[in-house]
Amino acid sequence: MKQKIPGLAFIVLGLLLAALPFWILPVCDQSVATAAGGQMPMRCHWTARAELGLGLLVAFGGLLYCVAPEKGLRPGLAIMQAGAACLAFLMPELFIPVCDGARMPCHIGTQHGLRIVSLLTLFLALGCTFSDIPLRHPLSWTRQRKP
């Protein structure tokens, strides 16, 4: 049971990451009219969709973490979760930035929420990585898998 706690925490954080830009601290819901007369969603809409994917990935990683053998898959999964958390943090800052307006909901709410949840995920993933890999013998866990 003890080894399942980080896995469950990953699932909760992943679902939070996925739900936050849509329901908890939603991004802007206005759309912009294009020259052709159509409606185009704001930039933060795509940030939210990217975060949905990353959040579900983190939750799926957490599920695998719960069922993974202790010294086999888990350190690798934890490293993958750390990578996904980094991506989730950088998504609204760098890859698909949220809107620039300082009073827009995505700028003053969603972005901060995503920062906090992705940082918590990153810290948890790093903690799991270092607790799963014996630090005195960094490669011992891989060696043990050899026949």
């Binding site: 601290l25 802007c28 206005q30 912009v32 185009m40 704001m42 930039r43 933060c44 809107c99 620039d100 307006g101 300082a102 009073r103 827009m104 909901p105 003053i108 709410g109 901060h112 920062r115 906090i116």
Partner: protein
């Protein structure tokens, strides 16, 4: 030799080591006490920060208001309040001839018109902003504030130049388009804590040119044309700001102006002092509620720590008696209890302040935007002072609650305590 030293060090019965060992032995008890102190620290920090933010926002608002009375078309006083406090874009129009008529009264020291326009959200990821046209020759409200950042006299601000609030993402020298017309940013203001932060300022002439010349078909299509149409743009203003002469009553002046002009011009008014006092009263109520909550949590934390330490002391009389036999002085026994309480407070204070920093600092703009109250961020020094005060109060909680238990340990009868329960 080194190993022997390490062993001796590890077994040293210092008050800190003993207190730490006790806390680790009962993680659930220690954790719940830490949580109580953390809740108190969080609530107190929230109350202190919200109070300081709102007070600085209110002082910024009262400092920049300038006018005693604001005259607006009937039914638009809430819209003006929204524009002033929260920068909510709105536009409404009345006739310019009103300004000269108001200036003619003996109790009026100064009167200046303003013209409000709402930009179109044309580009991606932009929202409508409030455009404020002011008269540089007569303005006494925003003028002094704008002068603090402009590197030229206010009167020399061109019709293609604008001054932007702190929340508008444009740097001086950059160009922004409104209704298709490019404007150069002459200056960007510091945070004021009010709606001016998300407003754009231009001369009255520029605002009129914008309403008349720039894409007026688009304006008319959206129903944004002042009064009857483009021909009336020269005759349109949105509000008149009035400064009453010293010695004259603002209330009487407002009543007189309403009596004369309310019906012919379909006007309403906003008395600045009334608006500020209403905001001040909301701030007072909110602060009272938050500080009340923090005090209640402090009382609960103190009581819980007192009960836990008192009950724990009764359980640990034999342990303390053995420590006395091992050579610990009575003062040292008290010190162990106080250290234990201090460690709980330290962890609680760190947790509470950390949570406050993580949740309150980033989400403060969202909170105050939702509440619709003026807000001005604190400087690093002010925030640090709040943090230190809260940390000191939270740190005091544990030792204060455990002081009675610690004091009673100094009166411990070693022999009786050791024989108890035999």
């Amino acid at each position: 030799m080194d190993q022997a030293k390490e062993t001796v060090k590890a077994r040293a019965l210092t008050p800190l080591a003993l207190a730490w060992a006790t806390l680790r032995r009962r993680p659930a008890r220690s954790g719940s006490l830490c949580l109580l102190v953390a809740l108190f620290a969080f609530a107190l920090c929230a109350a202190a920060l919200v109070n300081a933010w709102l007070k600085s926002g209110l002082s910024g608002l009262s400092g920049r208001m300038g006018a005693d009375i604001l005259i607006v078309p009937y039914g638009y006083e809430k819209k003006l309040e929204g524009a002033l406090l929260r920068g909510e874009p709105s536009q409404f129009y009345t006739k310019v001839e009103l300004v000269d008529k108001i200036r003619g009264h003996a109790f009026v020291a100064a009167a200046s018109p303003q013209l409000f326009l709402t930009s179109l959200s044309a580009g991606c990821c932009s929202v409508k902003v409030q455009l404020v046209g002011f008269d540089p020759a007569t303005d006494f409200s925003v003028g002094p504030w704008l002068r603090s950042r402009l590197d030229k006299p206010l009167g020399q601000l061109g019709t293609d130049e604008i001054v932007v609030g702190a929340l508008i993402t444009a740097k001086p020298g950059e160009s922004i388009r409104f209704f298709g017309k490019p404007f150069t940013v002459a200056a960007r203001m510091d945070r004021s804590g009010m709606g001016f932060d998300s407003s754009v300022f231009m001369t009255l002439e520029a605002a009129r040119l914008l309403t008349k010349e720039a894409l007026f078909a688009e304006l008319a299509a959206e129903g944004l044309m002042p009064l009857g149409g483009a021909d009336d743009a020269d005759a349109a203003i949105s509000s008149v700001l009035i400064k009453v002469k010293d010695g004259s009553s603002v209330k009487e002046a407002a009543n007189e102006l309403m009596r004369l002009y309310a019906i012919p011009y379909n006007l309403d008014m906003l008395v600045a002092a009334d608006m500020l006092s209403a905001i001040s009263s909301s701030i007072k109520n909110l602060s009272l509620l938050l500080f009340g909550l923090a005090c209640g949590l402090w009382g609960i934390a103190l009581l819980a720590l007192f009960v836990v330490f008192s009950a724990g002391q009764a359980e640990r009389r034999r342990e303390m008696a053995i420590l006395r036999l091992l050579g610990a002085t009575r003062k040292r026994l008290a010190l162990i209890t106080l250290t234990e309480a201090l460690l709980i407070s330290l962890a609680g204070a760190a947790g509470g302040l950390g949570a406050a920093g993580l949740l309150l600092l980033p989400f403060a703009p969202l909170l105050f935007q939702t509440l619709g109250l003026p807000y001005l961020p604190l400087s690093c020094g002010q925030a640090l002072a709040v943090g230190i005060t809260v940390a000191l109060l939270a740190l005091l909680t544990g030792p204060l609650a455990a002081s009675w238990s610690a004091l009673s340990l100094t009166r411990l009868d070693t022999y009786q305590s050791l024989r108890e329960g035999e």
